[in-house]
């Protein structure tokens, strides 16, 4: 039996960051990952390091995370291609523009300064965008990173700092007996007084086993990338819309490739570990990408991909302590919105576990919200 102060279940960005920041606070950590670190949602998402568009109550956590992104290279020793390129949200209709302008005003109160650009100023500032855009909202310090690199880099940094990383260690059971949790995994048994369940779409069954069932749904993002294109666009751009089919967003990486996604989420399964890109989605994305960025028409799509993500009906994650069992913590169900939050969630959980409290508000992300009968209505459109 191997033991530590904390066992982290899941080597996505949440678990990896939690392990990393726990080590910085001097806690001994064992991280158990069922496959390889960052293979699913953390490694296959769009890579947006974006605060704009998040619920206002989430902005303090998002800001805390952003500050850590700005230090990522110093923290883990690799840039992971993080680029604070700016994020531009565009609205095609006046109604959407007005609604988001209201959000922008409120976000300013919460420390997020969004530049509001309406009418002709849009095409003057961003001449490469297609026609018909009513307004744009620029969050100048948001950016993007390479999701394939981040969780593995955090895991390596945590390991260098003394964390024990066990990959290919699927967890079969987490049981509390006395002071300690007993964690049965593919690579044996582990013990710790504190367990963090950060197992993404796989966390639902583990929460249910502790009497905290949540309606976690499994879906996959619909991602694609073009070959390098002979132009350079600095900000990430995403469309504000309530019509999932028309939802499109893109970013251009340093090599020149255009990464894009959007549309209806694809089927995914925690049994097969597979998430599918629906071919119709790719074709539909091309149409809306051409509208948004006409110059992309000259390019070719070279690859599509997806990954298994966990979704909750109110589009909010579960972050924080168990409502029933002391020493048990959760961070999962990020609904395709977790990448930017990852560093902050890891830092906050490390703080919670080490000092028992945090100033960063996590409400309303408690797991107990699903125990009441009145669940929140699904949020309006999210960005990605």
């Amino acid at each position: 039996v191997r033991a530590a102060d904390v066992i982290v279940v899941g080597g996505g960005i949440m678990g990896a960051a939690t392990a990393f920041f726990l080590r910085r606070r001097g806690r001994s950590v064992i991280l158990l990952e069922r496959g390889l670190a960052g293979q699913q949602a953390s490694g296959t998402n769009f890579g947006a390091v974006r605060r704009q568009g998040r619920p206002l109550h989430q902005l303090p956590l998002s800001h805390r995370s952003h500050a850590l992104w700005m230090q990522l290279a110093q923290l883990v020793g690799e840039t992971c291609e993080f680029t604070p390129s700016g994020h531009l949200a565009v609205a095609y209709t006046r109604e959407k523009a007005d609604a988001f302008e209201q959000y922008a005003r409120e976000a300013r109160e919460c420390g997020l300064n969004l530049e509001i650009i309406r009418g002709d100023a849009i095409s003057a500032r961003f001449p490469y965008l297609g026609s018909g855009i009513a307004a744009g909202f620029l969050s100048p310090d948001d950016g993007h990173a390479n999701p394939r690199l981040v969780a593995p880099a955090l895991v390596r940094a945590a390991a260098r700092a003394g964390a024990v990383i066990v990959e290919n260690a699927e967890v079969y059971a987490v049981e509390k007996g006395g002071e300690d949790f007993r964690v049965c995994a593919a690579q044996g048994e582990f013990r710790a007084p504190v367990v963090v369940i950060a197992a993404g779409a796989w966390a639902g069954a583990m929460a249910a086993a502790h009497g905290e069932a949540v309606p976690l749904d499994c879906r996959g993002p619909q991602m694609a990338v073009t070959e390098p294109l002979p132009f350079r666009i600095k900000p990430m751009v995403g469309v504000l819309t309530d019509d999932a089919e028309r939802f499109i967003y893109f970013r251009q990486v340093a090599r020149g490739n255009l990464v894009f996604g959007g549309g209806i989420r694809g089927p995914a399964s925690t049994d097969t570990n597979r998430a599918m890109v629906l071919p119709e989605n790719t074709l539909r994305q091309l149409r809306y990408l051409r509208d948004l960025l006409p110059a992309a028409t000259a390019g070719n799509v070279i690859r599509t991909w997806s990954g298994v993500e966990g979704y909750l009906p109110d589009s909010l994650p579960v972050i924080g302590p168990s409502a029933r069992i002391s020493g048990l913590f959760y961070a999962f169900g990020f609904c395709g919105q977790g990448f930017q939050l990852g560093l902050g969630v890891g830092d906050v959980l490390a703080e919670l576990i080490s000092v028992g409290r945090t100033d960063t508000p996590l409400h309303p992300c408690g797991i107990d919200r699903f125990q009441s009968s009145s669940q929140r209505a699904p949020d309006a459109r999210q960005l990605s």
Binding site: L36, G43, R148, L149, P152, R156, T226, E227, M276, V277, L278, P279, E280, T282, L283, R284, L286, R287, L289, R290, A296, T297, A298, G299, N300, V301, I302, R303, T304, W305
Partner: protein
Amino acid sequence: MGTPRVAIVGAGPAGVRAAERLVSASFRPILIDEAPRSGGQIYRRQPANFTRTYRQLYGFDAGKARALHQAFDRISAAIDYRPDTAVWNIFGNKLYTVSDGRADEVEFDSVILATGATDRVAPVKGWTLPGCYTLGGAQIALKAQACSIGRRVIFLGTGPLLYLVAFQYASAGVDVRAVLDSSPLSAQVAAAAAMAARPSLLARGLYFRAHLMARGIAVHNGVMPVEIHGPGRVTGVRVRLGDGTTVDIQADAVAMGYHLRSESQLADLAGCNFTFDERSGQWAPQCDDAGRTDRAGIYVAGDGAKILGADAAETGGRLAALSVMKAAGMAIPEKEAAVLRRRLAAFERFRRGLLTGFPWPQAMIRSVPDDVLLCRCEAISAGELRHAAREQGAPELNRAKAFSRVGMGRCQGRYCGCAAAEILAGSLGVPVAAVGRIRAQAPVKPLSVAVVSTSLS
């Protein structure tokens, strides 16, 4: 229920024979092909206004080429033929095609994937210089366009195609400077017994070799390529010969290849199970000798299933057609199936001989220097892949791809994947099977952002 909808992807020897057999059983298959004309790579038809004879175009295989073309012409009115059409994805019971900028869908009950093969290449310093071609590319230039890839050409690699294309170039009057075979002669001698399973092919191989040598062309065995010289474009090749001496040979073009590799991405995207073939060192869709995969309604035939050559592809195409008929509830002539299966078994024996005689040069590829470019599309060196293995802990190929970008570009690892697997395995000190294979991701070939879909509202 009406006649099942059968789609065939690829109009080479396997696809055409599958279509022919299905037509004779009153099916009307949809035959989808990327090329403008049928025949596949080996029996590629020349453009309409070219007038070379079958003998000039196909040499010893003129009769087979003519027979396949005639078979296609006979059935062309009885099939739904879609040339110039690429299948970029498969999902459920639909093929997703693109032709002339328009995306379309083809629903099927059964599909025969007869997608052929491409060259298996291995990196060597300078292999991305202008003037370097694959053997297949060199052959197509000659066959389709009556062009040579250069004035003074070196053939480098191993396998029967090395000698065949060198022979075709020499016969066309090109100055062939040398044939440089990485396989030792001793291996070919040892494999002769197995290759005698197809005596005419064995004899033909010996004939090519004798013919080249009679023309005064240097044929070396046991060669280790060191570098293709530049600068700017190919000016020559440096190799270490079997006796340990290093020589420089001047040339302005190099054709290279180490056998072929299956174009199996559609089978992968369809969810077929893959198994590792020790002899060829390649992964292949798992199938029985009648082309049935583990996925209902998905069949594979020809070099896209396993590299057995054109004659075997014709046999495999017919067998897959019989499997489709059987699955549709039709009685199939058992004698016909038995004869075809027996023939396929002889091809398999010959294949084993070939792979003994012309082995994939594993040790040579594992020792490629760090500064050699491995992935052409993404400009990734062998050293960068080794870094992903040693410093970043990538235990298998997809992980190494995610870290290093090897196989992430336009070709999706079709050209660098085999060598990347070998180099990664070498770096980790494991057999090549242990590092897995690059998982296929749609689109099978680059898909234009400009594509307009006919089915989307």
